[in-house]
């Protein structure tokens, strides 16, 4: 059986525009050739820092924005080539939950109206949709008696429950969740994460879970993809990625996360990337992580063929060749690094 979702070489660049009298600015390659698959009932976590392209990728998958190149297949159908009516017919099966439980709900609609809206838009009669919306409130842990309340009468966690109810109202096969808990307090985050796990266990829905919080992503994901400047640089089953990361960027991300354990925190040797994430408007040559890569510096110091770059000496391969996502470490573990076996 084919996977639920197949993404092939997806790209999106945004025009850099023009300054008032200056030259045209370079295009921003927000998503720069990303491929992955997602199985039924599976959760793929997508992590990355600001500017990595993870949110753009989530929107491209649902074709909320148009790709510049590449293809998305969902339940065997080509999403990227679909006509507007074809896309409309797929919409009930692929939904999205947004980060901001404040901005993403229409303040003039009641909770039940918000949840019913996608149902009526797809032909469910209003009375039936409103009845089902009240049921949905119960399914996401709210009281059906809250159906007539407006978003401002709910807490942040309750609003996110409404957003989730709306997304699952039409029994989708795929939900893209873009930072669904990062605006919530920690005690409320756990409520929402448990709710999502419960929904998935009952309905078999697949999640593309986009977040910057590595602990949250580990908690929810079966597999994890790490993005850096528009590319997936590492993708592996959850335990392989967290237990034996192969890409130096993943290694430094995991090293940077502070653990709520003073003894471990103080004993930890930290592996730091140098500086900050670059710009997708001015991608480095070769491996896009090379200007920040601690591993490249170590490898060069050991005497491989090296060149002058980023103010130091780095392996020629890192500076000149763009590494492809390839098997590293066995199983389904992939990394885009010229030296994936280095510690």
């Amino acid at each position: 059986m084919s996977p639920l979702l197949e993404v092939e070489e997806l790209r999106r660049s945004f025009s850099g525009g023009r300054t008032l009298f200056g030259p045209r600015k370079p295009d921003v390659r927000a998503v720069d050739g990303v491929s992955f698959t997602l199985g039924r009932g599976e959760t793929l976590g997508l992590v990355g820092e600001t500017g990595s392209g993870k949110s753009t990728l989530g929107r491209l998958v649902l074709r909320l924005i148009e790709p510049s190149a590449g293809r998305v297949r969902f339940e065997g159908e080509d999403v990227t080539a679909a006509s507007s009516s074809g896309l409309r017919a797929m919409r009930p099966r692929m939904q999205m939950v947004f980060q901001d439980p404040y901005g993403s709900l229409d303040p003039r609609m009641t909770a039940a109206e918000i949840i019913a809206e996608p149902m009526t838009a797809h032909g469910v009669r209003r009375a039936e949709a409103m009845r089902r919306a009240a049921d949905m409130l119960g399914r996401v842990g709210l009281s059906p008696a809250m159906a007539a309340r407006y978003p401002n009468e709910f807490s942040g966690g309750q609003r996110q429950r409404i957003g989730i109810a709306r997304a699952i109202a039409l029994d989708p096969a795929l939900v893209v969740l873009d930072e669904p808990v990062s605006a919530l307090d920690v005690s409320v985050q756990a409520q929402i994460l448990n709710l999502l796990a419960d929904i998935q266990a009952r309905s078999g829905v697949s999640f593309l879970f986009i977040a910057h919080d590595l602990a949250v992503v580990r908690h929810v994901s079966d597999r994890v993809a790490v993005m850096y400047l528009g590319r997936v640089v590492e993708m592996a089953p959850r335990d392989a990625l967290y237990g034996a990361p192969r890409h130096p960027y993943t290694v430094s991300l995991l090293s940077a996360v502070p653990r709520p354990d003073p003894a471990k925190e103080r004993a930890k040797a930290r592996i730091r990337p140098i500086g900050e994430i670059g710009s997708a408007a001015a991608l480095p040559s070769g491996c896009r992580f090379h200007p920040r890569c601690p591993r490249a510096r170590l490898v060069a110091a050991r005497g491989v063929d090296a060149v002058q770059a980023a103010g130091t000496r780095l392996p020629r391969a890192c500076v000149e060749q763009d590494p492809q996502l390839s098997p590293a470490g066995g199983g389904a573990h992939l990394a885009a690094c010229h030296f994936p076996d280095e510690a």
Partner: protein, 327 residues
């Protein structure tokens, strides 16, 4: 040894429909020179209001109705507004969460740091600019002598936060209050900024108050921690004590509700049911009672407000001792 900064019984309120609504109540905390005190709590817990109140920065109509804020023994809240203004910035520095809003986009970062210096010191423009460049070097901005003439939009988020830290330490304050200084930053940049704050605290011997919601940041960075809930300190102690053997059910529940990056796979999260109370509708007795796993009417949880009790490690809970084993 006296504290560098100490709050005693600080209570701040806003007018409400049925009388004053207490945003923070009877908060007592202290931080010594060279020490980091973390103040943790969720939104609405009062962790930010506590320190804006202590510095006379609580927006109207909020006001402090009781308590003292002692900076090296001097009560800031008893000072005339002009003197208080001069203490802020000079002897007590502040860094806030959002590095964009703290900087003025139409002035260079050097001009903005120089302005802080010249407001307090009789120095020339030239000298202020040189000192600004030196400060940018101290917060490890590469090529500081050139970047001093750049505008805020030419800096990344992490670099802007470094500029704000440079402004906060420009006059050699004894205490630095950092309110979620790394929350808006990516994790690798967060780590760099936390390292910088730790280095500055050590080299300047400042007392540091780190306001955060992230228990990982507390474990990494702080010596002592105060946990706030519904406007009060509910637990305080050394980081080792509080993380090894939390005593307040709220603290215990917080630890159980966060996903840990090293936890065995498949660990279930135990969320805290419900949400924190509205300040105008806090329950009588313990404010955490409606969400508490150990609540007991026989112990007065719903009727009597618990005091902070302990020696070194304090908690405000009627069931202290009885619940630690169960937890």
């Amino acid at each position: 040894m006296t504290a560098a900064f100490e709050l005693r019984g600080l209570t701040a309120a806003v007018p409400g429909e049925k009388g004053a609504v207490r945003l923070v109540e009877d908060v007592s905390l202290s931080v010594r020179a060279g020490e980091t005190l973390a103040v943790v709590g969720e939104s609405g817990s009062g962790k930010t209001v506590t320190f804006t109140s202590a510095l006379g920065l609580l927006p109207k109509p909020g006001r402090v109705i009781a308590g003292q804020a002692l900076l090296e023994g001097e009560d800031l809240l008893a000072l005339p507004p002009e003197q208080l203004r001069r203490r802020r910035g000079a002897r007590i520095g502040m860094v806030f969460q959002d590095p964009l809003t703290g900087l003025n986009p139409v002035f260079t970062v050097g001009e903005q740091i120089a302005e802080v210096l010249r407001a307090h010191l009789p120095i020339s423009r030239r000298e202020a600019r040189d000192r600004a460049a030196a400060l940018l070097g101290r917060v490890q901005i590469p090529d500081a002598a050139r970047r001093v003439d750049d505008y805020p939009h030419q800096f990344s988020g992490g670099m802007r936060q470094r500029v704000l830290i440079a402004m906060a330490i420009a006059l050699g304050p004894r205490v630095l209050i950092a309110d979620e200084p790394t929350t808006a930053l990516d994790v690798t940049v967060q780590a760099q900024v936390l390292d910088l704050l730790g280095d500055l605290r050590a080299s300047e011997g400042m007392g540091m108050v780190l306001i955060t919601h992230d228990l990982g940041v507390v474990a990494r960075q702080a010596d002592r921690v105060a946990v706030m809930y519904a406007g009060r300190v509910v637990e305080t102690g050394t980081v080792e004590e509080v993380f090894r053997a939390p005593r307040h059910p709220y603290t215990i529940s917080l630890f159980r509700s966060i996903p840990e990056i090293d936890a065995p796979a498949g660990t279930m999260l135990a969320p805290i049911a419900g949400s924190p109370p509205d300040p105008a509708r806090r329950p009588p007795g313990c404010a955490f009672a409606p969400r508490c796993f150990a609540v007991s009417d026989a112990h007065g949880c719903r009727s009597v407000r618990p005091d902070l009790i302990g020696a070194g490690h304090f908690a405000a809970c009627h069931r202290q001792g009885a619940i630690e084993v169960a937890a």
